[in-house]
């Protein structure tokens, strides 16, 4: 018993319970044990993340501040010179604007298609599960395989697309081979690949919305369009944010099809940032500039993520 205790009425003692200090020790032990469990649960992920994400990011940042080392001239600290070189390179601006157009079209269009397909596949239609799996098929194909498939579609004169346009009397087009259409062709492949995947999230979200809400809205006089606009879309907003973030990350990280379809050409017309980084690092062995570009991408993605969480989350209703 602590010294101050005898002055006060001790309820625990009075009722024949354990001493107060013993109880506290027990509670503290439990708290400490709980904290330990928490760290134990987080540890594997933390270790892997540190090894494969945090450390490489910091190492890349460090690496980007040094000049390219050769056997004759060892690498020296170069400050922000690598970044300056990038901004001075016209290819940087081409690639950045390519990626902006690519993201600006693939993100909204694939979200729109995903939502439309989900609404249709969620309705009571015949062969519903067939429709769902048909929409999902592009997702389970490896991007490399899908790109090879589309390579055949885009083949001038012989491919499916030219067969169809040729039927209407159009001239054969080298879709992937000319700067005007190369990026658009890449964009279409990406949308085709991504929409089915995002549809699954919308389908899952649609199934959590109780059918009562639709009935209540109909009784209140709302038609299909009013219901979709005023009830369904706001309730799907959390899913839309999730899909949006994913689509944005994909617009930077998904470059597999470039290797098969265009290799970034012609004349950098379809080159995306990550493909350019890969080229710099592993084709031209210019790792400091590749590292600097990587840091710029990380920075941009980080800023966009913060904006998203700050702005969009406030307006979203989470149940």
């Amino acid at each position: 018993m602590p010294a101050s205790a005898p002055f006060f009425f001790n309820a625990f003692q009075f009722f024949g319970l354990q001493d107060v200090p013993t109880m506290n020790e027990m509670a503290q032990l439990q708290k400490r044990r709980l904290a330990l469990y928490g760290w134990m649960l987080a540890a594997p992920a933390l270790a892997l993340m540190s090894l494969f994400a945090f450390y490489p990011a910091i190492a890349t940042l460090w690496h980007s501040l040094f000049s390219r080392g050769t056997s004759r001239r060892p690498s020296v600290f170069a400050g922000l010179d690598n970044y300056g070189d990038l901004f001075a390179d016209p290819t940087f601006w081409t690639v950045a604007s390519n990626n902006l157009i690519y993201a600006g079209i693939t993100i909204p269009v694939s979200i729109f298609f995903a939502l439309a397909m989900a609404l249709w596949a969620n309705a009571h239609i015949p062969a519903r599960s067939f429709v769902r799996s048909a929409y999902f098929t592009p997702t389970i194909l490896p991007m490399i395989a899908a790109a090879n498939l589309w390579l055949f579609f885009y083949t001038p004169d012989l491919g499916v697309i030219d067969q169809i346009t040729g039927f209407f009397g159009a001239e054969p087009t080298n879709w992937l081979g000319q700067p005007e259409t190369a990026l658009a062709s890449i964009i279409i492949v990406t949308i085709w690949k991504e929409s089915g995947f995002f549809m699954i999230f919308y389908l899952a979200a649609l199934q959590t919305i109780p059918p009562d809400l639709r009935e209540a809205a109909h009784i209140e006089g709302a038609g299909r369009w009013t219901y979709t606009r005023r009830i369904l879309l706001p309730l799907l907003m959390p899913t839309t944010i999730f899909v949006f973030v994913n689509a944005m990350i994909n617009s930077v990280k998904l470059i597999d099809h470039l290797f098969i379809l265009t290799k970034g050409g012609p004349n950098n017309a379809s080159k995306l940032i990550l493909y350019w980084i890969w080229e710099m690092a592993f084709a031209y062995f210019d790792s400091p500039h590749a590292a600097a570009m990587t840091i710029l991408v990380l920075l941009t993605l980080g800023i966009v993520a913060v904006i998203q969480f700050r702005l969009v989350e406030k307006r979203t209703h989470y149940r």
Binding site: P210, E215, A216, I219, E220, A222, H317
Partner: protein, 377 residues
Amino acid sequence: MTAQSPFIEIHSVSRVFNGGNGVHDLSIDIPRGSFVVLLGPSGCGKSTTLRLIAGLETADQGTIRIDGKDVTNTPPSKRGLSMVFQSYALFPHLSVAENIIFGLKVRKTDKSEIKTRLAEALSVTGLDGCEDRKPSELSGGQRQRVALARAIVAGHPLCLMDEPLSNLDAKLRHAVRKDIRDLQQRLGITVVYVTHDQTEAMSMADIVILMKDGRIEQAGDPAELYLQPATAFAAGFVGSPPMALLPATALPNDVLPNGIPPKGLTFGIRPEDLKLSTDPASEAWGIAATVTGSEFLGAETFVYVSIAGTDGATARLPGRVHISPGTEVSLSWAGVAAHWFDRETGLRHAQATTDIAANAPSQTTEFQTSPSTVSTL
């Protein structure tokens, strides 16, 4: 004024689902301004009937008329009605005010009128000050009132309610029951109300429509259902604890009705009509029973008894009654309190009378004056 035509006319409507549930050849007339309760066990078709009136289901056969207009194939929004759902179906992302005026906004009602109607609906349902909250920030009772406010704000003459109280706790349910009834009478609207809770039906309804297997078992005012159940099912469903239904063969001969063989009869007796006696000599007749348990509820005590050859019965005795399980008792009742049903069809035998009933006053007077039970213990 001539005889008013019913506000809602449901004429031989059928709606059958693949599972076999639904309603079959249903005809109901609902007078204007009445409070009608569709009562029945789950799967009896009461919700289907409500959804047919609402237009959320389409009738396979038959016609539905609301206020003289054939609405059988009219979409819900054009029927001029509102509905309160069991889950309340509040839009979770909209504030209370937005929820209430959703329909008015959709129908492009004048802005200033929306404002006055909203204020009115809020004050009628006692939701003043909550208008900016989201449904998730409200208690169950408040959500229920938001659903009510949304239903009355448009001023539709018909309001449908699908078990609106089943998500509330018992105490609140009692209060809201009264509020809904008051609201209905103040606004003079017609309410069709679905419930499986016979207490709700009895306490709120002008007309109770008892349903079973997609058909109407009995329709009438609550007293009629209670005092003159048309079938054994109605007798067993209405009343808490329910009427005891015993095969007539388990009864002594002198209490059986004349001229009908006991084999084809079911005997029914309300718990409050049963008299218990521990002294066999004090009664002229009685059937032997054994007490299996009792429940003290404050104002009354339920005594459960087993009777040989039956499922047992419940006696409702006023006040506190001490009786230990295993006690042998003798059961008796005033002859008019007995209900007789055909064992095969379940239909009521209206004419069945017994010898001991001969001297008793007529049934209705008997029931209206006082409960016929006096505890002899």
